[in-house]
């Protein structure tokens, strides 16, 4: 592989300016365009046509262009110059945030006046580096780009690639992807709840919820051979034929974990200290959530009931009932409550997936295709809507780009942290569920 093929822009620019390059957000206009596409998408899905959005509608990749350039950093709502006001860098190496990211915090001691996330420290140029690779090798890199969201990224990437090649997908593969996605959603949501409980000094609560998260990871390891689902969804991989007894085991264990978690959540949500710390912390009003293009649980906590699994579903979600829990105030409590609701909703989805597991794998021979084609797909990952845009040349990837949920939500962190005190920062950070690996990819 040549050196130049690893960088998305020009090589000389990357080490110095990647802080600025790595952030590109979906503008509100582009978001509306995508929102209105779903009726057509549903029709295509019902007709049995290739999955994914119609690339002809989005010639300029609106979600990838820095259309919201001015919106990257929330403007301060008061004059942040003055006596005693200073900026201190928090990160990229901190105890509080386990990933490499820096926050420039403007403050006079306690209250955050302005917060600017600075990313790019762990940029690895993964998507630029996969150009020219065969699909299974490219997918191997995509899943190892964001470890804890691997199923969501691989599903979106493969759906876009399959859409580009115009290939239908074997039915069982679709159901396997959905099962992996829901398992991944559950262990990420459990982790988020545990981290917030830890920040609120709920040691017993966080230990118990972390233990449940570990149980789901072990279940994933047992069912798919890998705790983080690496390799589980790759094309040409081993056929994961879940026998009826395996499906029963998965169903029983997930139902028990979900019930145990509900008991713990009842205890946590009646603990005054826990609720006091997160209620009203870093609120995102509905209007702001829409304006800045929030996605996932962050958007739903601000009482916007958008979920790709319901509104722009890829099969088998077209056949499943998915509950969409919503919040009202959009604060940290609502974001956590939405995740708690989604753990229940994912448990229900897994039940349905296991019940209707297809008997035959329905192999479809791949047809040769040599022209370059472009495909777009969106998938509801654990922390929100994920969009992949993939161009294929035959069976090789010619180019790929993505808009991740963490990228879309990052300005909201700046908005929500403003006005709050620095000790509340960890609640804000954990309740949004950011993964810096998908911003610095």
């Amino acid at each position: 592989m040549t050196r130049s093929s690893w960088v998305e822009t020009s090589l000389s620019e990357v080490p110095k300016t990647s802080h600025d390059l790595s952030l590109s957000y979906l503008s509100p206009d582009a978001r509306l365009a995508i929102l209105t596409d779903y009726t057509e998408h549903r029709t295509r899905v019902l007709r049995g046509e290739p999955l994914g959005l119609d690339p002809a509608r989005f010639p300029n990749q609106p979600w990838l262009a820095p259309a919201a350039r001015g919106l990257r950093r929330c403007p301060p709502d008061e004059d942040v110059r003055g006596y005693g006001i200073f900026t201190f860098p928090y990160g990229p190496v901190t105890g509080g945030v386990p990933e490499a990211v820096r926050f420039d915090v403007r403050t006079y001691g306690e209250r955050i006046l302005e917060l600017t996330p600075v990313t790019g420290f762990k940029r690895r140029g993964v998507l630029a580096g996969i150009a020219g690779l065969p699909l299974p090798d490219a997918a191997l890199r995509v899943e190892r780009m964001v470890g804890n969201l691997s199923a969501a990224h691989v599903t979106a990437f493969l759906t876009a690639a399959e859409s580009a090649r115009g290939l239908p997908v074997p039915e069982r593969e679709l159901w396997t992807r959905a099962l992996a996605l829901e398992l991944q959603r559950i262990y990420n949501h459990l982790h988020a709840v545990a981290r917030v409980a830890e920040s609120a000094a709920q040691s017993v609560g966080q230990a118990q919820v972390h233990a449940l998260s570990e149980e789901v990871l072990r279940l994933a390891g047992w069912a798919f051979g890998h705790r983080w689902l690496f390799g589980a969804l790759l094309p040409g991989g081993p056929d994961r034929r879940l026998e009826p007894s395996d499906r029963r085991t998965i169903g029983t264990r997930i139902a028990r974990i979900s019930a145990d978690f509900q008991t713990l959540w009842d205890l946590l949500s009646h603990t005054r200290i826990f609720v006091d710390r997160i209620q009203g912390t870093s609120p995102i009003p509905r209007r702001e959530a829409i304006r800045w293009g929030a996605v996932g649980p962050t958007l739903r906590a601000s009482s916007v009931g958008w979920d790709d699994r319901v509104h722009a579903p890829i099969p088998p979600y077209t056949d499943l009932f998915v509950a969409v829990p919503q919040g009202i105030d959009g604060d940290a409590l609502d974001r956590i409550a939405v995740r708690v609701g989604e753990i229940q909703s994912s448990t229900l989805a897994i039940e349905q997936i296991l019940d209707r597991w297809p008997a035959a794998s329905g192999e479809i021979p791949p047809e040769p295709c040599v022209e370059a084609h472009r495909g777009i797909a969106r998938v509801e990952g654990p922390n929100g809507d994920l969009i992949y845009d993939v161009t294929m040349q035959g069976d090789r990837v010619a180019g790929a780009s993505c808009r991740s949920a963490s990228e879309a939500n990052l300005p909201l962190l700046a908005l929500g942290s403003r006005q709050s005190v620095f000790t509340d920062f960890s609640f804000a950070w954990e309740s949004f569920g950011f993964v810096i690996a998908e911003v610095d990819r």
């Binding site: 990229p92 901190t94 490499a100 790019g120 890199r141 017993v204």
Partner: protein, 249 residues
């Protein structure tokens, strides 16, 4: 409060028997095991080498440090029967079949100072977040690293061990060196995960500045993608206690 205690007691003992018992099947799924080469190695290795996406399979053996446990070689004769908790003081020692089964993977004791407790600081220099999560997982009741005297600390000033995850990107090098300098002696560096060892699936990435030992002195290498929590726990345990030959658990 009493309800919390009832709830916790009702679930019973969850914690692993490590280091007094080998890992069970739940603790180590199939991809946690190092791939091994069944004899005759001279026939298996050339067949499996072309399918390895990281070039970890060579004619003399498997470079375990570069292996990402993708399991592609398993359909070409290799078997997932290797140890879960591999660790060595140099990447070159992590090669099978020679020197993996017969010499127990060990670490030179970085200092006689770590006997009863070890404070660990985690630094991410370009990971996918899976290694971070596995390392943080040591605090959950299933592993409970604190019962062995292993604690995670929020400041390098209080740390004995720097736990490095991810492929070292150029942007993180200054932070990595400064963090290491901020730690008081005696101190040790443990690199975990294929990315930190040999770049893993991202080997050859121009954003990365490998090897890690060019920037900080590394005392122990733990392969895996990501290494399961038990492998990380075992590595920290061995760093704390010194070579296993001198003193058993």
């Amino acid at each position: 409060m009493s309800t919390w205690i009832q709830q916790a007691v009702a679930r019973g003992r969850l914690t692993t028997r490590f280091p007094w018992a080998p890992p069970n099947e739940e603790e180590a799924p199939i991809t946690a095991h190092a791939p091994e080469v069944p004899p005759p190695a001279t026939r298996t290795l050339p067949l499996a080498a072309p399918v390895c996406p990281t070039g970890a399979i060579e004619s003399e053996g498997v470079r375990q440090g570069a292996c990402i446990r993708c399991a592609r070689c398993l359909s070409h004769g290799l078997t997932p029967t290797g140890p879960v908790d591999l660790m060595a003081s140099s990447i070159a020692l992590l090669r099978s079949p020679s020197g993996l089964r017969h010499e127990p993977p060990s670490v030179r004791s970085p200092s006689p100072g770590f006997r009863r407790s070890l404070h660990v600081f985690l630094i991410d220099v370009g990971s996918c977040n899976a290694c971070n999560r596995e390392a943080l997982g040591l605090a959950n009741p299933y592993y409970d690293s604190q019962r062995l005297g292993i604690f995670f600390t929020n400041s390098p000033r209080h740390a004995d061990v720097l736990l490095v995850v991810g492929i070292p990107t150029r942007e993180m090098l200054p932070s990595l060196s400064r963090t290491y300098e901020a730690m008081p002696g005696p101190k040790a560096v443990v690199a975990i995960g294929a990315c930190a060892l040999e770049g893993g699936i991202f080997h050859g990435n121009p954003h990365a500045a490998l090897p890690l030992s060019d920037h900080v002195p590394v005392d122990a290498y733990v392969p895996g993608c990501p290494p399961p929590p038990l492998a990380i726990l075992s590595a920290l345990w061995r760093v704390m206690r010194g070579p296993p030959s001198r003193e058993g658990p």
